[in-house]
Point group: C2
Chain length 267, copies 2
């Protein structure tokens, strides 16, 4: 944990991260101690910091500390940046030094070989253009949505907004293949602008468009993606089953070509 550039031993109970979720985070895939998508993660963090008027720590220091924490391993690195101490009251202090923590976590278990099983979440996501797209620390909606099921056969849940537009999964973006073109929902009212989503939009033709539940169910192929796990093909959503699709295999191959961390184990 760091306060500005100084290492500290403990979080303050007055940290605005703890009091208000007044912060941002990034969850990065580490491959042999390296962070292949560092630049994209830092760029999103910087966009969020600008929107929340949070001072950013020194990226060189964060990277160097991350490298020590990672110790050359394959892992997940989590970075949390909060506004630090701010007394009681919502007004952000202009003087507060930001607090940042980095922590290493094991890679998640491999996803099921046949593809993911999804459900629809009941919770409608709220719409807040001022926060949409950011990976901010106000995540109670995701906590509530993920708490809707504890059946281990269900891998993830899809979330819609109040108008029925599909937004994302609890911890991943969603892509669907319609008429030979990949499509993913906009994230300007809800949802997170995922780093893997962005990488894929640069690798392939992807249309950002509003999708409803029927668009997903009627798609020729569906996948989820995030920066830790890359592309995760979906096999099942309720009664709907999808067979492996060559366009999915092609996209996974192209993603794997960008960095060995994202080479698919098996298609």
């Amino acid at each position: 944990m760091f306060l500005g550039t100084r290492r500290v031993d403990a979080l303050s109970p007055y940290d605005r991260g703890h009091a208000y979720g007044d912060g941002l985070f990034e969850t990065l895939r580490a491959h042999r101690g390296e962070l292949p998508w560092w630049d994209a993660h830092w760029a999103r963090l910087a966009r969020g910091a600008q929107r929340l008027r949070l001072p950013l720590p020194d990226p060189a220091q964060v990277r160097s500390e991350a490298s020590q924490v990672l110790a050359g391993l394959d892992a997940v690195l989590k970075l949390i940046l909060t506004r630090g101490e701010g007394g009681r009251g919502y007004a952000p202090s202009a003087q507060a030094e930001p607090v940042w923590t980095i922590s290493r976590h094991p890679l998640p278990p491999a996803s099921p070989a046949g593809g993911l099983t999804l459900r629809w979440c009941d919770l409608p996501l709220s719409e807040q253009p001022a926060l949409a797209g950011l990976k901010h620390c106000n995540r109670l909606e995701q906590v509530l949505a993920r708490a809707e099921w504890d059946d281990p056969a269900i891998d993830e849940g899809l979330l819609c907004d109040a108008s029925g537009a599909v937004v994302c999964a609890t911890a991943a973006n969603v892509f669907v293949l319609q008429a030979g073109v990949w499509r993913t929902p906009p994230v300007d009212r809800s949802g997170v602008a995922g780093v893997c989503r962005q990488v894929l939009m640069e690798l392939a033709e992807v249309r950002v468009q509003r999708l409803n539940a029927d668009d997903v169910l009627g798609a020729d192929a569906v996948f989820l993606c995030n920066a830790v796990r890359g592309i995760l093909p979906v096999a099942r959503l309720g009664e709907r089953h999808w067979a492996p699709h060559p366009a999915m295999a092609g996209l996974r191959h192209r993603l794997g070509a960008t960095h060995p961390a994202f080479v698919p184990s098996q298609d």
Copy 2:
């Protein structure tokens, strides 16, 4: 700080309060070391804990620790309850022991004798019925709204939802007098079910109804209220000025009769 019933010295950087704002809080007025609205605060905390499926600490222990922290003073007591450690990922752990902190803060400065000066905030509040009414720790909207101004002549800002319905101020509920009856907006889609708001609804005839900006500007009297400061008469909102109103004085008097902490200094 306490983990379950055990006192701990530091917050874990893995606390889900810090990571996701996965918690609840209460801000209580203390008068000579006592907490006049304790029951109402605890009831709201319990409702929130049920909604978020957070285990509650032992109220007797919290009250006894609060009493020691308060040391007989007039002050503000802040209680934060978070889900504790939960690893990485949104799924709440069923085993996690809740973490709670209590802290004492000075009373805020007296409000301006002539009444508050308000502004309209630009940020529209999002609508999330699953969280509305709760005093949860996802407060980035309030942080952003409060950051809209730094003019010390402005005391508070009013917030509307995306449909233009007035919801609340950044840290207070709002009441308006129309045709001799006090009215306050519902808090079932946005906003917090304030403890002072609830006390006033038991003391006087209050109609819960949707209000728009014109309803506020056209009202015969307007006040904000919260559990720390009681009733705060509004003197000004943009070009609109309000003179002191006898109905306001009457209601402040009735609130003051419930407990000496809320006796108005001057009307």
